[in-house]
C-alpha cells in the first residue's frame, strides 16, 4: 500500500534534486530543468494531498492547471535564455553578472 509518506518522500527528493540543479548547474537550460523538477515536486504534493480534500479530484485539476502554467513559464524562460544567448553569446549564468549593478 502506497502511503502519503511515500509520495512526500519522492516529492522531497525531487525538490532537493531540482534545488541542487538550480543552484549548481552551469547551464541555463539545466537550471530551467531544475526549476521544472521543483515545480513537479510541488505538483506531486498537490496531487498527494488532494486525497484529503472535501471536493473530489480538485487536487488533480489544480495540478493540471499548474502544469499548464509551468509550460507557459518555461516558454517565457526559454525565450529569455535565447535572448540572453544572443546578447552574451553564452548561457553560463556565472558569466552573466550584469545584475550586480
Amino acid at each position: 500500500m502506497i502511503t502519503l509518506t511515500d509520495f512526500l518522500v519522492v516529492s522531497a527528493a525531487l525538490f532537493c534534486i531540482g534545488l541542487y540543479m538550480t543552484v549548481s548547474k552551469r547551464n541555463a537550460i539545466q537550471i530551467l530543468i531544475g526549476i521544472e523538477l521543483i515545480l513537479n515536486a510541488a505538483i506531486l504534493n498537490l496531487v498527494a494531498y488532494g486525497k484529503y480534500d472535501k471536493v473530489n479530484n480538485s487536487g488533480q485539476i489544480f495540478a493540471l492547471f499548474a502544469i499548464v502554467l509551468a509550460a507557459a513559464t518555461t516558454a517565457v524562460a526559454l525565450a529569455i535564455i535565447l535572448n540572453v544567448y544572443r546578447r552574451y553569446k553564452t548561457i553560463d549564468p556565472n558569466d552573466i553578472n550584469k545584475l550586480k549593478d
Partner: protein, 684 residues
C-alpha cells in the same frame, strides 16, 4: 658765630674733597679706554681734594670737632642719621690720604702710560680715593661699613687690574675672600653695638663721654645707658672688630692676602696696599678705641707684636722686591696694632702717618726699579723675573735720584735719627717697654720682641737696599753682553719721589728730631687721660735702638756689599721657615682651601649625580610614561577604532559578496536564509 661759619665751610670743603675723585671716576668711566685725559682728570681731582683737605685740616685740627648729620631714613621708631664727623683723627686721615694719593696719581700717569686700559686704571684709582676719603669722614657705622666694603672692592679691582695674569686673579680673589671674613666681623660688631646702644652714630657711641664710656661690664652683663646685654656680646663685638682690623690691615691670621696683592700695579701697591687702605684697620681701631677693655687691648698687643715679628722674619729671606716690602708693611702694621694694644694710641696713629709716607716712597722706588728691570728684560729678551732682587745690584749709579729716595725711605723705615720713622717707632717702643714694666709674667716678652723686630727690620731693609743699589749688576755676570739704558725717568717719576722723600724727614712732623712727644701730630692725638711718660726708658731705648740698628746695618753692609762675612746657611730650619713664609699659606691651603675645594667637588658630585640624577630619573620616568601613553594611544585607542573599522569593513565585505550579480548565488543565499529561519524557529 664765626665758629659756626667755619664749621659749615669745613663741611662743604670736606664734601667737595670726597666727591671730586668720585666725579673724576665717573668722567673717566665715560672716556675711551686708552684716553690719556683720564690721568689728568684724576690727578686734578685729587689735587683739588688735597688742597681742600688741607683747608679743612687747618680749620679743624686742634679745634673742637665738627659734626653734622641729617636723618637718612627711618625704620619704625629708629631714625638712622648720616653725616660727617670731623675731629683730629678724621681730618688727619683725610689730609694723609689725599696727600699720599697725589704723588701716586702723578707717578701713575707715567707708570701706566703704555697700558691698554689706562683710563680704567684711573677710574678705579679715583674710585678708591673717593671710598677711602669718605671712609675716614663718615659718622655713621652703616656708612662706615659701606665705604669699608667699597675700599675692599676697589682694592679687589686694582689687584686684579691685569686680569689676564692668572696669578693676579688668584691674588684678588684671595684678598677679597680674606676681606669678607673681616667684613663679617665688622658687621656683627655693628649689629651688636646697635643692639646695645640703639644708634649707629660713631660720635654718640665712642666720644670721650659717649655711651661706651658710660657702660660697664658687671656680673656678666654689659650695662649701658640705654640697655644691657650679656657681657659675652661685648667680647664678640671686640672680636668682630679685631677680625675686621686683621683682614684689612693684614694681621695674623688673615695677613696672607697682602703679599699676594702685590700682583697689582706697583703704584697701586704703594697707595692702597702700603699707605692708605691697609691703614684703615688701624684707623678703625682709632675710631672704636674706647670700647676695648684692658684684657682685649693686651690680646691686641700680643697679636700685633707676633705679626710684626713673623712678617719681619719672613721679609729676611724673600727675593721678590715687592714681597719684601709687603711683609715689611705687615710688620709695620703689626707695630701700629701693638701700639694700640699698649695704649700708645697717638704713637700708633703717628706711626701710621709716617709709615704711609716712607712705605709709599719705597714702593714707588720699587716701581721704578722693576720698570727698569722690565726694560732690560724686554730689550734683551731675557727670561728673568724683573722683581727678583738677586738679579739687581749697582743701580745707585744708574738711578741716582731713585737711590737717594730709597735710602731716605729705608732709613725712615729702619728708624734712624732725623727721620720721621725714628720719632714714631721710638714712641711705640718706649711706650711698649713702659707698658711691659707694668705687666707681669710672659707679657714682658712683648716689648723685647718688638725691639728685636725693629732690628730685623733694619736687617731686611739694608739687605734690600744693598742688594738692589750696591755692588755690581748681577745680571751682567750671567748675561755679559746685555745693553743697558737706565734712567730715573721723567718728572712724573722724580717729583713724587722728591715730595715723599721730603715728608720722610723729621721737620715735617717735629722741629725736635729726638722727642716724639714734641711732634705736632702726637700732641694733637694724645688723649689727655693717657698717662704721661716719665720713665727711664725714654732716654735709654732710643739710644740703644739706634746703636743696635747701626750695628746691624754695618753687619749687613759687610755681608752683602763687601761679602766678607759668611753667608747664612740656606738649609737650616729657620731659613726654610722664613722663606716659605712660616708655611701659613701651605697650612691654609691644606686645612681650609683643600677641604673647601673637596667639599665643593663633593657638592658638585652630589649635584651632578644625585640632584641631576634624580631629575634625569624623573625625565626618564616621564619619558617612559609618555611612551606608554603613546603606545596606548596607538594600539589601544587607535586599535579599537581600527578594530571597529575592520569589523565594519569585514561585515561590508561579507555583505558585498552576496551582491555578486550571479543569479544562482542569490538563490543559494535565499535558500540558506530560509533554512536558517526554519532552524531558528525550531530551536526557539
Amino acid at each position: 658765630m664765626e665758629d659756626f661759619l667755619h664749621s659749615i665751610q669745613s663741611l662743604n670743603y670736606t664734601v667737595a674733597a670726597v666727591a671730586l675723585p668720585l666725579f673724576a671716576a665717573l668722567i673717566n668711566l665715560c672716556l675711551p679706554v686708552k684716553s690719556k685725559a683720564a690721568g689728568w682728570i684724576s690727578t686734578i681731582a685729587i689735587l683739588l681734594s688735597c688742597v681742600l683737605s688741607a683747608r679743612v685740616f687747618a680749620t679743624v685740627w686742634n679745634n673742637p670737632q665738627v659734626h653734622a648729620q641729617r636723618i637718612w631714613f627711618t625704620i619704625g621708631e629708629t631714625q638712622v642719621y648720616a653725616g660727617i664727623l670731623l675731629n683730629n683723627l678724621s681730618v688727619l686721615m683725610l689730609l694723609l690720604v689725599s696727600v699720599i694719593a697725589l704723588p701716586v696719581h702723578i707717578y701713575s700717569t707715567a707708570y701706566m702710560k703704555h697700558d691698554d686700559r689706562y683710563s680704567r686704571y684711573f677710574t678705579y684709582l679715583s674710585f678708591f680715593c673717593f671710598s677711602m676719603l669718605a671712609l675716614v669722614v663718615v659718622d655713621s657705622l652703616i656708612l662706615f661699613y659701606a665705604f669699608w666694603e667699597l675700599v675692599g672692592f676697589s682694592s679687589y679691582l686694582l689687584i686684579g687690574f691685569w686680569f689676564t695674569k692668572d696669578k693676579a686673579i688668584q691674588a684678588n680673589k684671595k684678598a677679597f675672600i680674606m676681606n669678607r671674613i673681616g667684613d663679617i666681623g665688622l658687621l656683627s660688631a655693628i649689629i651688636i653695638l646697635f643692639a646695645q646702644f640703639h644708634t649707629f652714630d660713631i660720635d654718640t657711641i665712642f666720644a670721650g663721654k659717649g655711651l661706651i664710656a658710660q657702660s660697664v661690664i658687671k656680673n656678666g652683663l654689659w650695662i649701658g645707658p640705654v640697655g644691657q646685654i650679656p657681657a659675652l656680646w661685648q667680647y664678640v663685638a671686640c672680636a668682630g672688630i679685631f677680625l675686621a682690623v686683621a683682614a684689612k690691615s693684614a694681621q695674623f691670621p688673615l695677613h696672607t692676602w697682602l703679599p699676594d696683592a702685590m700682583e697689582g700695579p706697583t703704584s697701586v701697591s704703594a697707595l692702597i696696599h702700603a699707605a692708605t687702605m691697609v691703614a684703615a684697620g688701624v684707623f678703625l681701631l682709632g675710631r672704636v678705641y674706647p670700647m676695648f677693655t684692658e684684657t682685649e687691648l693686651t690680646i691686641l698687643a700680643c697679636i700685633g707684636c707676633f705679626t710684626a715679628f713673623m712678617a719681619a722674619t719672613i721679609a729676611l729671606t724673600q727675593n721678590d722686591l715687592k714681597r719684601i716690602l709687603a711683609y715689611s708693611t705687615i710688620s709695620q702694621l703689626g707695630f701700629m696694632i701693638l701700639a694700640m694694644g699698649v695704649r700708645a694710641y697717638a704713637s700708633s696713629l703717628f706711626h701710621l702717618a709716617t709709615h704711609a709716607f716712607f712705605k709709599c716712597l719705597l714702593f714707588l722706588v720699587a716701581g721704578i726699579v722693576i720698570h727698569q728691570m722690565q726694560h732690560i728684560k724686554d730689550d734683551n729678551q731675557l727670561d728673568i723675573d724683573p722683581q727678583d732682587i738677586t738679579h739687581m745690584g749697582g743701580l745707585r749709579k744708574k738711578l741716582p735720584i731713585t737711590f737717594i729716595a730709597a735710602v731716605i725711605g729705608a732709613v725712615a723705615l729702619v728708624g734712624l735719627p732725623f727721620t720721621s720713622g725714628y720719632l714714631s717707632k721710638d714712641g711705640i717702643l718706649i711706650q711698649a717697654f713702659d707698658w711691659g714694666e707694668r705687666q707681669n709674667g710672659w707679657l714682658k716678652i712683648v716689648p723685647v720682641t718688638a725691639l728685636l723686630t725693629s732690628l730685623l727690620t733694619a736687617f731686611y731693609v739694608s739687605r734690600l737696599i744693598f742688594k738692589v743699589f750696591f755692588g755690581e749688576l748681577r745680571l751682567l755676570k750671567t748675561n755679559p753682553d746685555i745693553k743697558l739704558h737706565l734712567s730715573d725717568g721723567g718728572w712724573q717719576y722724580k717729583l713724587p719721589l722728591v715730595l715723599l722723600a721730603v715728608c720722610c724727614l723729621f721737620p715735617v712732623f717735629s722741629f725736635n728730631p729726638f722727642y716724639f712727644e714734641h711732634a705736632w701730630l702726637y700732641i694733637g692725638l694724645a688723649h689727655p687721660h693717657f698717662p704721661k711718660l716719665e720713665s727711664s726708658y725714654h732716654t735709654i731705648i732710643p739710644r740703644v735702638v739706634t746703636i743696635l740698628n747701626l750695628l746691624v746695618l754695618l753687619e749687613a753692609y759687610r755681608m752683602y756689599v763687601q761679602a766678607k762675612r759668611f753667608k747664612f746657611s740656606q738649609n737650616n730650619f729657620f731659613y726654610r721657615l722664613s722663606y716659605n713664609q712660616w708655611y701659613i699659606d701651605n697650612l691654609y691651603k691644606r686645612a681650609i682651601v683643600n677641604p673647601v675645594l673637596r667639599l665643593g667637588s663633593v657638592c658638585f658630585w652630589i649635584d651632578r649625580t644625585v640632584v641631576d640624577g634624580f631629575l634625569q630619573l624623573l625625565a626618564r620616568i616621564s619619558g617612559a610614561i609618555a611612551k606608554l601613553a603613546a603606545w596606548t594611544d596607538e594600539y589601544i585607542v587607535d586599535g579599537f577604532l581600527h578594530l571597529l573599522a575592520a569589523i565594519v569593513q569585514s561585515i561590508g565585505n561579507f555583505a558585498r559578496k552576496f551582491q555578486s550579480g550571479k543569479v544562482q548565488y542569490y538563490l543559494f543565499s535565499m535558500l540558506v536564509i530560509v533554512l536558517l529561519l526554519f532552524i531558528l524557529k525550531i530551536l526557539i
